[in-house]
Symmetry: C2
């Protein structure tokens, strides 16, 4: 998760996944926000509801601490874990989006299954980059 001053994302190319969301989901163009690069992993297929709830908790906790109102959910399969089936990933990401919206955050989301051009500026404080692993245990 990166605390950013701004984040612009433009859809560029289809990714490797055969399953993908049709754009437009609009290009994302937001100011101060928390950018969540998220990878749904193989073992998350077992209990997606639990993973969703814990993910929302972690994002809320960190987002509240930073006093950000906007969360960007960005599927990112380059975090070393083995990715889940795309269907499961899309489901979980959408559930996280819905829950965070209900909790009062503005949520921007980039479509699953695409490469994007990013343009961003991060902040430089000690909580401006954090990594979290969510597991079922």
């Amino acid at each position: 998760m990166l605390h950013v001053d701004y984040f612009n994302s433009t859809i560029a190319r289809r990714g490797r996944s055969k399953i993908f969301e049709e754009p437009p989901l609009k290009d994302v163009k937001v100011k101060e926000s928390l950018l969540v690069l998220m990878n749904v992993e193989k073992q998350d297929e077992i209990n997606p509801q639990h993973i969703t709830r814990k993910t929302v908790e972690e994002i809320m906790k960190h987002g509240s601490q930073l006093k950000v109102k906007t969360i960007i959910l960005h599927p990112f399969a380059h975090l070393f874990g083995e990715p889940s089936k795309p269907e499961v990933a899309i489901d979980i990401i959408k559930l996280v989006e819905k829950d965070l919206t209900q909790k009062g955050f503005n949520v921007a989301r980039t479509p699953f299954g695409w490469f994007n051009i990013w343009e961003l500026r991060t902040k430089g404080h000690p909580l401006s980059r954090v990594a979290r692993k969510i597991s079922s245990n």
Copy 2:
């Protein structure tokens, strides 16, 4: 590793490590390049020379494929692995820098032990983000 159109990094705050490099290493401001976010891990302490060589190989291979001339080595301890002792990390990063320079790349490096403000734009092609794990085996 991110293939970027530009990357500007400004030193902001000391990180958590008690061992750190005194800036200035200058702020980094480069155009098209390969941004390598790198974390030296605990198990890399066993055979740093081997890790260094394989790291240089991976970066060279990817950098050549992308036809970039400039590599940015940026210490980044948020990639889930358990970090090595900072002394070992600094040694390995400096060796990687030296080797890549000898191979003909321009190498920019951010100092170890600091948080930075990043400003960047990535490309959006399928090889614009890749992740690599280097192990001793």
